[in-house]
């Protein structure tokens, strides 16, 4: 099979995964598209949103459609790094036993790892998870365990602030996207979620999703093929570099925000890793759209999800992040032109 045919076949599969998940999760098309993009860009996703908007349902539905094994960990204040790796107990014969923990349990079959309420876990646990995300390996029992097909989804509880450990800037940078799942506003969707009994039984809902649509163990291969095949023009390269500079010094473009001293707003702009993630995601967007070249709209489609958690504000503005980040990115997109 030549490259173009492979890309076409995988594109069909990717769209099918999205369609299947959309049956179980309604009113969140943007979130579904970006999770799909992250899956094929091999990036990890930080989910943030109101309570009960269906974050877990989305991930379980995706996990079922993608195939491979799914694992879920609840973040708690007493969770320790070791709890992710091994599990100790005394068996029926009275002998101590050590079994692999949630990270190791599935071996290379693990494709979706969901860390619920990551900000409830201690920084030590977050560090372990970050290493697992970055290298897709952990060391345990004097050997290295690999899970090359794993995608980590983490949910951040943004309601409670008690007994939580906010992710450090460097930790947030490891996530390709930070997706803000908000409550649907469309009245017909709200009506369906409340009155349609099909959406009340999560298990049945997820069971509707066609299982294992992808050969998940080939995700890395096809992701590399996408990155290799989708080309970027000089104009796009210039555009991305301009966006990067704008994330560092937006005041140079004449961007202003209400009640903000622009010269004291930015602590650090996007990192090279962040911009690399932008290009990876952008190429996947172009590919999903049936193209083998990147257009500015592809960049715009993912930029808010890429930059939102990667522009680091000075402490006086950090508390207003949710309000400022979106407005700043919107103004950057309005000012930086391509061509």
């Amino acid at each position: 099979m030549n490259t173009e045919n492979a890309l076409q076949d995988w594109r069909e599969l990717a769209h099918r995964v999205e369609r299947e998940v959309a049956q179980a999760v309604i009113g969140q098309p943007q979130t579904l598209r970006l999770i799909n993009v992250a899956t094929f860009a091999r990036g990890h996703v930080l989910l943030e949103g109101d309570v009960g908007v269906g974050k877990t349902t989305v991930l379980r539905a995706f996990s079922r459609a993608i195939g491979g094994d799914f694992e879920r960990v609840e973040g708690t204040v007493d969770l320790m790094p070791g709890d992710l790796i091994y599990h100790t107990y005394v068996d029926a014969e009275g002998r101590p036993r050590i079994d692999p923990g949630p990270l190791l349990r599935h071996g290379e079959r693990l494709t979706t790892f969901f860390f619920n309420e990551i900000n409830r876990a201690r920084p030590q646990v977050q560090s372990l998870l970050l290493r697992a995300m970055a290298e897709r390996t952990v060391s345990a029992f004097n050997r290295e365990y690999r899970f090359p097909h794993m995608t980590v989804f983490a949910d951040r509880n943004k309601v409670e602030k008690e007994e939580t450990f906010e992710l450090a800037s460097a930790a947030r940078d490891r996530f390709m996207f930070e997706l803000n799942m908000s409550k649907p506003t469309d009245r017909s969707i709200r009506r369906a979620l409340v009155f349609d009994t099909a959406f009340h039984d999560t298990e049945a809902l997820i069971a509707q999703v066609a299982p294992a649509l992808l050969p998940a163990e080939e995700l890395n291969t096809i992701a590399a093929l996408i990155q290799k095949s989708v080309r970027t023009s000089e104009t796009i390269e210039r555009y991305v570099l301009d966006l990067w500079e704008a994330s560092e010094t937006p005041q140079n473009l004449g961007i202003t925000l209400d009640g903000v001293d622009m010269n004291r707003l930015i602590l650090a702009g996007a990192s090279p890793r962040g911009m690399s993630a932008l290009l990876r995601a952008t190429r996947v967007v172009a590919w999903l759209d049936g193209r083998l070249h990147v257009e500015p709209d592809d960049v715009r489609a993912v930029l808010p999800a890429i930059l939102g958690h990667r522009i680091f504000f000075t402490p006086i503005y950090e508390l207003r992040r949710a309000e400022l980040a979106g407005a700043l990115i919107a103004r950057i997109l309005d000012r930086v032109a391509a061509p």
Binding site: S233, T235, E295, R300, L333, D334, A337, A338, P339
Partner: protein, 296 residues
Amino acid sequence: MRRALPAGLLTLGLALSLGGLPTAAPAQTPPAQRVQAAQVMQPRAFGHVLGDVLTQRVRLGQGAEALAPKALPEAGRVGLWLDRRAPAVERDAQGVQWLRIDYQVINAPPSLGMIRLPALSLPTTAGPTLAVPAWPVSLGPLSPAEGSELPALQPDRLVALRDTAAPRQALQAALAALAAVLLAWLGWWTLQQWREAQTLPFARASARLRRADGSRLDDWQALHEAINQSAGRVVHAASLARLVEERPAWKPLHAELEAFFAASNARFFGAASARPDPSLRALALALRQVEKQTAD
């Protein structure tokens, strides 16, 4: 040529006309018929030349019908000098009737002389015959006699030249003011054009793309920049519809703008575009027109 008539006759004529003295009855008048001197308004007695019309008015009283049939003198030539026109009866403001007889001078004498309007006898049916005496008038030539020192034609009368300095100065001042106004308007217009070309996006773009053939990416970029600047934000294919909604004046150019963005994508990013490339110059000019209309 006749010479002047005897002075005695002239005196008699004047006396008849002024005094209304009865004239001698003509020889052919029947003795039974009474003759009465007519009351006549004679023409001026002097200063006549060729072509002048001399009018005689004879008072008839209240009843014109009193004139006898065939009493009116016939129209036609009267002697060497005069031509009589057909007499007519007129009524004045008081209702009195007058017989009007016009004589026109039809010959010019070589020197000043005297002629007479002929005497007339106007019989009436019921009353006396009205006697109109001959009336002397002087008749002069139009031009001086041959051999005279005077030229045949008098020289043109010299017309005094009017002083035109004041109106000329006023005209010059008005013209200067007009020129100043025109120059000021031209200066303002030029400045306006220059300022627009410096500040208005499509004025600048259309000036730049005047000779563009669309082969240079810089030209495409210039039009993109003009659109972005005019919109106040970056415009791309996906946001074009929103922009056109915001600016109804752009609606007629929606298709051209879409074609421009599609062709631009093909050039800058490698997208295939089935449509032919739009004319950058024409699109810039069309957008410039919209800019002009909306700027006013």
